[in-house]
Amino acid sequence: MSRSNTSFGLQTSPKHPVSLKVNGDEHDLLIEPRKTLLAVLRDTIGLTGTKEGCSTGDCGACTVIVDGKAVTSCMVLGVTASGKEITTIEGLASEGELHPIQQAFIDTGGYQCGFCTPGFIMASKALVDENPNRTEEEFRFALGGNICRCTGYTKILEAVLQAAEEIHTNS
């Protein structure tokens, strides 16, 4: 029982000033060094779309994009994210329009309980942004850091492939 929900088990210590750019908004915060980026996003900023599934970096539910790369935000200390650009699930749709990956998850039934979905969508977005032109096998392997317990992955893969093709075609 060594891990708490939110910290790396560090003791209380003075708060540090941190500047985060989240979904385009600047946040100047004072946070304890032991708070994870996940805890800062959820508890301090109030963006609860990013989920906590394991607190050990193994399930991918807390995946956000930091400076273009998908990271598990439970494995990052909030203080170390200062000055970085962060995109969460809440920042994906623009002007009321869903991102093609979000739309594809709806069209294919690529989610059930939805708890892993924000993490899956963010991990997929980072992959597709990097290179939408991947095979199903490549996507299967690349999404191996995200756990879904409901879908059996069949429809998630369908969704990602559908979105990747659309994005590839339009790029």
């Binding site: 039934g109 309980c113 996507f139």
Partner: protein
């Protein structure tokens, strides 16, 4: 396929947008003003006497607002251990603090003095006299002792002394079975039909084996969580991640002595349940106790590690099973003796042992099942509770029989399956179920009849059955002035059920799917609803929704008759309006116009009510085929093909039904090949995703699903519950495929690579 316009269609789910944008509110997303963070203090030993609990240091930590122990539980129902702990992670106290990390620090400052006791983790050890007694000294007789004791009782009851010699002989015989005095038994159940001894004697082939199935965790992605807020008037509000808010309400009321109407349970969006989300004391009761004491809202949220230590997973079990058949393939007898690992409490699906019967005509059957205490947390339901374990044993053994008599495993099963009109064990006769159709469908889709295998490849087949439950529920539907309809009910959406209810109501009201919205109420506002488990929701709430929509329809036609000044017989509801069929030119009035008109009538608005409890359900069959390739050097099994068919009665939303099949199959695959909660001398040793591996997308190919529709007489549009059946046959499907590939029957799950390598080395011995 059907004449329906909304049901039977692959429509996007009603919760689609909130689920893909992060807007859906799960339990841990609830944050009332002034909320404190709770943390449960857990035992560091698997079996120990508690000598003392000292909270004084924790109380001094700045930010700590409340600490509760069993002394705070008025009913005395065990929420926290007091004198003794029975498993690693058992709750001893709980703290609430202004910050999650402070709560955790405080929990670590609570000093517990233990006197460590011997531990027993294996059911076969726990039943022996040498095992530590976990909950008193109850012993039970095994099957042979039961038989002998029954004979003794019969003779003593019938006679006044003439049978004394026989009785003495029988008593001597009892002594031969002294190893059949089982210790640490939490429950038992016994079923018998026909005469198994006679059946085995008449059989040409008899196979007997012992199967071992591990304890696995439901591993819903959202760990247990609740937020409780007790106000100064005594009113308690609980935001609960649960499958059954009404059951949680009564559970809290009973445990804490709070009147039912003083408790409001608000079900939050559920991050998976699979049967494991009905528990009352896991987080809900501690959260309420802390909030009552602190006078502020409190959230208690488990970590993943706590889930593995103190969740309520699926029980493991050991099943000895024996089957006899004639050489031309008729199953004559089956006997099973099962020991289910119920952990520290009773329960553990022991009643499901009878599922070794499957869907076959077996004239002679006998089942003895026991629940056995071990130093583990209690267990709960997991998707068709008990069925995957029993069916794994039954369907594995069927394949071995088929092989011995030289019959194709699919043909062997088809030949023995029950048919419509056959007598069923529970009485009455077998309804029309697509047993054979479903098995034939999967065989055709997988290419079974002309299957090809390269070296180290194999094919496996198995079937599993399950019958959805049903329970009480209520639904209201209102039609508004803009022609839209709103549904109000109290059942938790279990990944698609709200969508099914919405489709049913749109179908009956003949309005577009998009114009019907659904709202779930809390226990203060919504009509009672049964819990969302046991595949009940689409069956129960679907029927309830139909009744509500039909009630609304009655009012709609009544209003239209008034408005159009005609008789209801001349009216037809279609395309979102009521049409006067006798008029020329045609005359019609829209639902919106009728809803607006209703507001100025004496009879009032269009509100349909549906209330339903139960009708007989019809069994559902899941049939699956896997093709695998086993690497003899590494022991790794790769799935090349996994095809699953299921008789769903009628697929109200085929996309959601496929999703249920695919998800269930992958959970079954994982139980067969990967998952196992492991226990050492001091409890669970793999409480995290690194050591407890669940499958990812990298582990499996696409699951192909095949929907078979043989309507259930009492289901809405013929629908059956679809959630549970798909997990039931997969364990055996995988084991049968591995057997076919390497020629070795693995009887102990999971089929991990090291087990396969060892089995190959030992040439099948000790698998």
């Amino acid at each position: 396929m059907s004449d329906y316009s909304v049901v039977g269609k692959k429509l996007p789910r009603v919760d689609a947008v909130e689920k893909v944008t992060g807007a859906a509110q799960y339990g841990a997303d609830i944050h009332p003003a002034g909320m404190l963070y709770g943390k449960i203090v857990r035992s560091k030993h698997a079996h120990a006497n508690i000598l003392s609990i000292d909270t004084s240091e924790a109380e001094k930590l700045p930010g700590v607002r409340a600490i509760v122990t069993q002394d705070d539980v008025p009913s005395g129902r065990r929420v926290f251990a007091t004198d003794k702990v029975l498993y690693l992670g058992e709750p001893l106290a709980a703290v609430a603090a202004t910050d999650a990390d402070v709560a955790k620090e405080a929990a670590e400052l609570i000093k517990i003095e233990y006197e460590v006791l011997p531990v027993v983790q294996d059911v076969m050890e726990s039943i022996k006299p040498s095992a530590p007694r976990l909950r008193g000294d109850d012993t039970k007789d095994g099957p042979n002792r039961r038989n002998i004791n029954a004979k003794i009782k019969e003779l003593s009851d019938a006679d006044s002394g003439g049978n004394n010699d026989t009785i003495r002989k029988l008593q001597a015989e009892l002594d031969k079975y002294s190893d059949e005095i089982y210790y640490n038994i939490s429950a038992e159940t016994h079923t018998e039909a026909g005469d198994v001894e006679k059946g085995f004697a008449e059989s040409d082939v008899v196979v007997e084996d012992t199967y071992v199935i591990p304890r696995v965790h439901q591993t819903y992605m959202e760990p247990h969580v609740s937020v409780a807020s007790a106000d100064s008037s005594g009113k308690v509000t609980v935001w609960a991640s649960t499958q059954g808010p009404f059951a949680i309400r009564s559970g809290i009321a009973g445990t804490l002595g709070i009147p039912l109407t003083q408790i409001n349970v608000i079900g939050t969006t559920m991050g998976g349940g699979f049967g494991g989300r009905f528990g009352v004391i896991i987080t809900h009761v501690p959260a309420v106790l802390l909030s009552q004491k602190a006078g502020r809202p409190v959230r208690v949220q488990m970590t993943r590690e706590e889930e593995f230590l103190d969740g309520r997973p699926a029980p493991g079990c050991v099943i000895k099973i024996k089957t006899g058949a004639t050489k031309d393939g008729q199953i004559l007898a089956r006997q099973a003796l099962a020991f289910w690992d119920s952990g520290s409490v009773s329960g553990a699906s022991i009643g499901s042992t009878i599922r070794v019967r499957g869907v076959y005509k077996i004239p002679n059957i006998k089942v003895d099942a026991y629940g056995v205490h071990t130093n583990k947390s209690g267990t709960a339901a997991y998707r068709a509770p008990g069925a995957p374990q029993a069916i794994f044993a039954g369907e594995s053994q069927l394949d071995d029989i088929a092989e011995k008599i030289g019959m194709d495993p699919v043909k062997f099963r088809l030949m023995n399956m029950r048919e419509e009109g056959d007598a069923v064990p529970a009485g009455g006769s077998e309804p029309k179920v697509g047993y054979k159709e479903t098995l034939e469908a999967v065989a055709d889709a997988a290419g079974w009849w002309d299957r090809e295998t390269d070296d180290n490849q194999g094919w496996g087949v198995a079937v599993g059955d399950w019958t959805n439950g049903c329970g009480p529920g209520g639904v209201y539907v209102s039609v508004h002035e803009d022609g839209s309809a709103r549904i109000f009910h109290g059942s938790m959406d279990i990944t698609g059920t709200d969508t099914a209810i919405t489709q049913i109501i749109a179908e009956i009201l003949t309005v577009p799917y998009e114009s019907v919205t659904i709202r779930r109420g809390d226990t203060d506002s919504a009509p009672y609803s049964t819990g969302s488990g046991g595949s009940v929701v689409t069956f129960t709430m679907g029927n309830t929704a139909k009744l509500a929509a039909e009630d609304a329809r009655r009012r709609i036609l009544e209003l239209a008759a008034e408005r159009l000044n005609t008789n209801e017989d001349n009216l037809e509801l279609k395309d979102g309006g009521v049409h006067l069929i006798t008029a020329d030119p045609p005359k019609s009035i829209s639902l919106g116009e009728l809803a607006a008109y209703s507001l100025s009538t004496t009879g009032g608005p269009i509100v349909g009510k549906g209330s339903f409890a139960r009708q007989p359900s019809t069994p559902a069959l899941a049939a699956q085929i896997a093709k695998v390739e086993v690497d003899p050097d590494t022991g790794r099994t790769r799935v090349l093909k996994l095809v699953a068919s299921q008789d769903v009665g009628f697929a109200i939303n085929p996309m959601a039904v496929e999703g249920q099949i695919e998800g269930g199959v992958v959970q079954g695959y994982a139980w067969a090949m990967m998952e196992e909660m492991q226990y050492g001398e001091n409890g669970n040793v793999n409480p995290g995703f690194v050591d407890y591996r669940v499958p990812t997308s990298a582990d499996l190919p696409t699951v192909e699903s095949v929907i078979v529709e043989v309507p259930a007489p009492n289901g809405p549009y013929g629908a059956k519950g679809v959630g549970e059946p798909p997990i039931t046959p997969t364990l055996a499907t995988m084991a049968n495929a591995v057997k076919n590939a390497i020629g070795i029957r693995v009887t102990e799950l999971p089929i991990k690579p090291e087990k396969v390598v060892d089995a190959l080395k030992n040439n099948g011995q000790g698998a």
